[in-house]
């Protein structure tokens, strides 16, 4: 049983490495094609994975780590959530803020992905100029009930990944970075940057201690 698992793990690691190498060589994609490919890929993996469907959060987190994280610009995301205080932070503080914020978001995102069952992604028409350095890609998650609006802010990163990176995410009209801005601001004004780092680390520790 255990050996079987290890064997499969080995294969999937090899496969992932192969895919990663393939992706790095790939041409830069159109922004909406890039998002479409990433989301379909993730949804398909979730549906195909029995461990995920039976509630194994660690596996979803692993999936997010390999498929989504490489496409996200976390330093930029963290900097804009922290706001003006970012420039006063030491490189070490910045590094820790990025790490803790990343852990928090990965876990949140993985928790949301766990709810996925029969949903599909549909892309909305892209309104952008060919030379835009930044743009918004709009999509909808359709299942039963209201369609869920899911938009991404992308920046052009020629030659890296699919040629784009995500730096903000909008679920149902709520931009992720904006939702953290005032929470971060009040932590910083009452406890300083180190206080914010400590609060984030504490929250991540509590989350990790929960069963799922």
């Amino acid at each position: 049983m255990k050996r079987e698992f290890l064997r499969r793990l080995g294969w999937s690691l090899l496969l992932a490495a192969g895919l990663g190498a393939g992706a790095a060589r790939a041409e830069d994609m159109a922004p909406d094609a890039f998002i479409k490919q990433m989301s379909t890929d993730v949804l398909d993996s979730i549906r195909a994975d029995k461990g995920i469907r039976s509630g194994d959060l660690a596996r979803v987190i692993a999936l997010v780590d390999t498929r989504i994280i490489p496409n996200v610009d976390f330093p930029r995301m963290t900097a804009s959530a922290v706001g003006p205080a970012w420039r006063q932070a030491t490189p070490d503080q910045q590094k820790r803020l990025i790490e803790e914020f990343k852990t928090l978001l990965v876990r949140t995102y993985a928790g949301a992905l766990q709810q996925v069952s029969d949903q599909t992604i549909s892309m909305k028409p892209l309104r952008a100029n060919p030379d835009d350095k930044e743009l918004v890609v709009r999509s909808e998650v359709k299942g039963s009930g209201d369609p869920i609006q899911l938009d991404y802010r992308l920046e052009k990163t020629p030659g890296q990944g699919g040629g784009w990176k995500i730096f903000n995410l909008n679920v149902l009209g709520v931009w992720l970075v904006e939702t953290y801005k005032s929470q971060f601001a009040s932590e910083i004004s009452s406890k300083g940057l180190d206080g914010l780092i400590a609060t984030l680390a504490e929250r991540n520790k509590t989350n990790a201690a929960k069963k799922n």
Partner: protein
């Protein structure tokens, strides 16, 4: 104005509410938020926070355990039927409002859903329309008022009911009456029982989402408020609000 609203306005609840209004206004004015982190949309933050804490305590001691139990003991097919039934009644009210808002596509989707689900879907118990890929667009009278130009006003957290803007508070009696699930029973007792079932059903659907938010928020109050206000604004602009408060 519908007869239901008139009934509500002369109801004992409304009369009691109006007697409460003046002391409440005094409390509201005393609880004004100041300080560097005050959100201009949330002038009553201290009071709102107190109500939020109350709601949260009530939720974790009563509503959440009951909803968890309901989810555990009720077969998922039945739960789905109950949810669909309430959704269908809500879709009727959404149809009316998308018409009042002049949102053509939303109106035809919503009314199409009601027609399909009320007939083939056996009084709304089965959501045939979703299987036919007719999208659901939930909307209410608060949004209609917004479409007509009424400003949202400040953020308010109501006891038991949760986050609102002042405009939504004003629209609430109309929304409550407009969604026919509040009058299905025929008698006050039966209506109350149906309302309780609806509340438990809604809460049970939010159990997973609630756990995610608990994990994601540093300050659940601010998280909820900022999320709610952004969402309101998004609905107002048909999912495409201008960027005024976003960084370039």
């Amino acid at each position: 104005m519908t007869r239901g609203v008139q009934r509500w306005l002369v109801s004992p609840v409304a009369r009691r509410a109006s007697r409460l209004a003046i002391p409440l206004a005094v409390v509201l004015l005393q609880g004004c938020a100041t300080g560097p982190d005050a959100n201009p949309r949330d002038p009553m933050e201290p009071l709102n926070r107190a109500v939020f804490r109350f709601n949260d305590a009530l939720d974790s001691t009563v509503l959440k355990p009951v909803a968890t139990g309901y989810k555990a003991v009720t077969p998922s097919l039945i739960r789905k039927g109950v949810g669909n039934f309430f959704n269908n009644l809500q879709d009727m009210w959404s149809s009316v409002n998308s018409a009042l808002q002049g949102r053509g596509q939303e109106f035809s989707d919503n009314i199409g859903r009601v027609m399909v689900n009320s007939t083939i879907g056996m009084f709304g118990l089965i959501d045939v329309a979703s299987a036919l890929q007719i999208d659901r667009h939930t909307t209410d009278f608060g949004t209609t008022l917004g479409r007509w130009g009424v400003a949202p006003g400040p953020y308010v957290v109501l006891p038991l009911l949760g986050p609102f803007t002042l405009r939504e508070v004003a629209a609430y009696p109309i929304d409550y009456t407009g969604d026919r699930s509040s009058q299905l029973g025929g008698s006050a007792d039966a209506n109350a029982e149906i309302s309780v079932l609806k509340i438990i059903d809604r809460r049970a659907n939010l159990l997973d989402a609630g756990n995610i938010i608990d994990g994601a928020a540093l300050d659940p109050y601010t998280f909820m408020r900022d999320g709610y206000l952004q969402r309101q604004r998004n609905v107002q602009y048909d999912g495409n609000p201008p960027d005024e408060d976003l960084p370039p």
